[in-house]
């Protein structure tokens, strides 16, 4: 038999079955319930009629429960095995509806007199009961009809008297079907893990990442600098589409890659945003925060935080304090300004600070000559370059926001790749919404910003005031001057590395020595499947994140034996950023 004919045959059977049920339903709806045509026949079969009704309603109850339970269980199992959420309530709802529908159908089809008569025939009367029933309904009075009825009624009476023995009210033949269905459903739900669980987790992670990313993007989208929007239009569009792209990502690795791209774009903008001004603000802030005078300390702290408004207020307060203070205070202020002038790289600012210091010194001289403090306030008043300082704070604020958002996005990508829980992702979101505290944040210094500056990590590591340089700049460089270019900061010493204990190493630190060279072009190769661009050097955190995401995706597509899979995760645990430092 060909497949086509088998298909046709099966289709015909199914269609015939469906039509038969439809006809049965229509018959049920159009059914004319027949009453007893004769009291004698009704009385003869009364005991049986009672038992038939009792059994029918008990059976209806059992079947309604069975159908409800069966449908709900089947739906529960199906939904358990495919990707749909909120399954329990739907399955229960369908089950209850099925039970009610079935009960309603059974109510419509409740037994009438003819049904009782047919049951009697089935118990051994062999059409005698139905013959009497029909003849009595037709009111036939001919001798043969009377003779037939006369033959039937004694049999009906006899059967009615033995109805208790012949017809059981409780039919326990299929009693175990309901518990059996329940057991199968419970077994399936308990033993077989839901196939969609991984997908659901993945979707929840991406949903959470979408929220966090939206928050991070919201922090920087409206940033103003020099009276205009900080973000270029193209970057704004790109960031606007980030949550949508995360939502539409087919796989987690795509979402991770998209997050990293966005983070990189934000970081690039942060890098290009007047880096000298930001450094100057940080340097001044760090310098003045160490001043014993409270006004200077507060101004330094405001600069470090990048709080533009606060910087303006503190500068005004400091101006007032210097103007009204004695010569000692003025000299201290002048000294702080001179030190600040030496710390900044901006020549204009340096000149402004020197001029301010000289003005204050002149004021201090005047005070000494006049013999009273605050006497030459005109000379010292408004000596501080408040406008330049607030500009510095403005730059630091913007850069801080950008760095914070970039850091948040990178962290989010890393946690998403590692399959972090929703709470961990939410914590990443908290990080994204924090006000920028430091100018150079934790994402690691931009690797090799400008020629000759070296890796920011090296600088940060030395200064101690910046964030933790991760990635390429993590190592303590000692010398601090990199070789420039896109390379990692090359320090004068070696590189501390961790022998991964989980992969057979002892876990102790070893010092890997090597020659420090100016860098080479290297051999550029094209890797078809590498997440990194050939010839480029990316921060370790990003490379690790991408490889971790790829590992997740690969293992979800082609599962390994548990032992092998655990070895993979041990490997990633062993080489994850910061793993060695924690030990």
């Amino acid at each position: 038999m060909s497949a086509a004919s088998a298909f046709l045959k099966t289709s015909n059977k199914i269609f015939a079955g469906v039509m038969a049920r439809v006809r049965a339903v229509l018959r049920l709806l159009n059914r004319q319930r027949l009453d007893w045509p004769d009291d004698a026949l009704a009385a003869a079969l009364a005991p049986l009629r009672k038992r038939v009704r009792e059994r029918y309603w008990l059976e209806s109850l059992r079947l309604a429960l069975l159908w409800g339970l069966g449908l709900a269980g089947a739906l529960q199992v199906i939904l358990h095995l495919v990707y749909i959420e909120e399954i329990v309530s739907w399955a229960a709802l369908v089950g209850v509806m099925a039970a009610f529908l079935f009960a309603f159908g059974r109510f419509l089809g409740r037994p009438d007199a003819l049904e009782v008569v047919r049951v009697a025939d089935g118990l051994g009367l062999d059409a005698r009961a139905v013959t009497a029933f029909r003849l009595l309904r037709q009111h036939r009075t001919d001798p043969w009809a009377k003779a037939a009825c006369a033959e039937s009624l004694p049999g009906c009476k006899q059967l009615g008297s033995r109805a208790g023995d012949l017809y059981q009210v409780f039919d326990n033949r299929r009693f175990w079907m309901g518990p059996g269905i329940l057991a199968v459903v419970v077994l399936v739900l308990a033993v077989i893990p839901p196939a969609w669980e991984g997908g659901r987790m993945d979707r929840e992670l991406r949903k959470q990442a979408e929220i966090v990313a939206e928050s991070a993007v919201g922090q920087v989208k409206g940033l103003q600098f020099d009276g205009r929007n900080l973000l270029p239009a193209e970057l704004r569009r790109s960031l606007d589409s980030l949550p949508r792209d995360l939502r539409r990502a087919q796989e987690r690795s795509q979402a991770v890659a998209r997050l990293q791209k966005a983070a990189q774009e934000v970081e690039n903008l942060s890098t290009n945003l007047s880096p000298a001004a930001r450094r100057d603000a940080m340097s001044l802030g760090a310098l003045w925060e160490r001043q014993p005078d409270r006004n200077w300390h507060d101004l330094g702290a405001a600069l470090t935080r990048g709080d533009q408004e606060r910087v303006g207020k503190e500068a005004a307060a400091l101006n007032q304090a210097v103007a009204t203070g004695g010569s000692v205070k003025k000299e201290q202020a002048a000294q702080a300004l001179f030190q600040g002038a030496e710390a900044v790289s901006n020549a204009t600012l340096r000149q402004q600070l020197r001029e301010a210091a000289q003005k204050i010194l002149a004021g201090a001289e005047g005070d000494r000559l006049s013999g009273k403090s605050g006497g030459s306030s005109a000379a010292a008043a408004n000596a501080l370059p408040s406008e330049a300082l607030t500009g510095l704070a403005d730059a630091a604020t913007a850069a801080g926001h950008l760095a914070n958002a970039s850091s948040a996005l990178f962290g989010l990508a890393q946690q998403l790749a590692a399959g972090a829980s929703g709470r961990e992702l939410a914590q990443a979101g908290d990080l994204a919404s924090m006000a920028p505290v430091t100018g150079a944040s934790s994402a690691g210094g931009p690797a090799g910003e400008t020629g000759g500056q070296g890796a920011a990590g090296g600088q940060d590591g030395n200064s101690g005031s910046g964030g933790n340089g991760e990635g390429s700049g993590r190592g303590n460089s000692g010398g601090g001057n990199g070789s420039g270019g896109q390379g990692a900061g090359h320090g004068g010493g070696g590189l501390n590395a961790q022998k991964p204990s989980l992969l057979g190493g002892s876990g102790e630190r070893v010092n890997v020595t090597g020659d420090v060279r100016n860098g080479e072009d290297g051999v550029q190769i094209t890797l078809p499947h590498s997440p990194t661009e050939a010839g480029s050097v990316l921060p370790y955190t990003r490379v690790y994140t991408q490889y971790l995401a790829e590992a997740h995706d690969s293992l979800s597509r082609a599962p390994l034996p548990p032992a092998m899979e655990s070895l993979v995760w041990k490997y990633f645990d062993g080489v994850q950023p910061g793993a060695g430092e924690n030990k």
């Binding site: 005698r128 139905v130 003779a147 037939a148």
Partner: protein, 339 residues
Amino acid sequence: MIKQAITAFNGASEPEVHLLLEEVGQRLREVDDAIGQAIVGQQEVVHQVLTALLAGGHLLLEGIPGLGKTALVRTVARVMGLTFRRIQFTPDLMPADITGTLVFDRAGSGFRFEEGPVFAHFVLADEINRATPKTQSALLEAMQEHTVTVGGVTHPLPSPFFVMATQNPLEMEGTYLLPEAQLDRFMFKITVPYPSAQELMAIAVLTTGAQVPQAPGLLGPGELAGWLQLVRQVIAVEDVLAYATRLILATQPHHPQAPERVQRFVRYGAGPRGLQALVLGARAEALRAGRAQAGFQDVRAVALPALRHRLLLGFEGVAEGISPDDLVREILTTVTDHE
């Protein structure tokens, strides 16, 4: 008493109907006993033969040679008190040899009709499958219309008229299968089984002695004709008729209620004549049991002889060696009393 009751059954009262049924039952038991004096065993066959006779149907008896088919028919005819003719079907038998022919009457003024052996109450068509289909078909009109038409003139056959044909299922060489139209006209096809050891011993005792017992004649044509009318008075309500109808429909291979094996192996199922055979047979069964009403069990009792020759197997059914009896039994288990 019974003759009067039979002739006036239309006006009988209810007690008279009961009495009539009782007496018919008693007479039929006497017929059974009378046949049993000459025929050893074969109670089921005798039962089905008498049921078919009560229903006014023709019979096809199938069995290997020597099982007493001819003796049974002869005995039944004797007990019934009816005229009996035997026609031995051979390949050179011509239709006119059965129906009769026109012969020139030297004494008269022309041709006169010379009746053939079909002009009898009981006609035994022995080994009917040995004649050609043309000759077999000569019985068609006689069986259905109870008339014979020769030379443009229709001649009525005696009433009651029964054809009892026998065929041998083993010797198929030089035989012609009965055409479907002819098969359908037989009310029952009765398979004569091989006797048991005890029955064989009884046959040896009964038939090899000095005197071979003969069954007495008990009835006459009038009484049997009355019974034929009584059968049709037996009540079969619509539920019973519906059951018989569903049985017939279940033999049709294209009907959705037909069992899977019927759909697969049967080429054609039973037709309206099959339904008539079922219902009349059920009524006759009820009458034999002394009941005024036919039930589902009566229908089931006659289903096998009434339907087995009406199921025409397809190629696959023949190749698989499917027995129509098994298919009928399957239908009986599949179709329920009530829909």
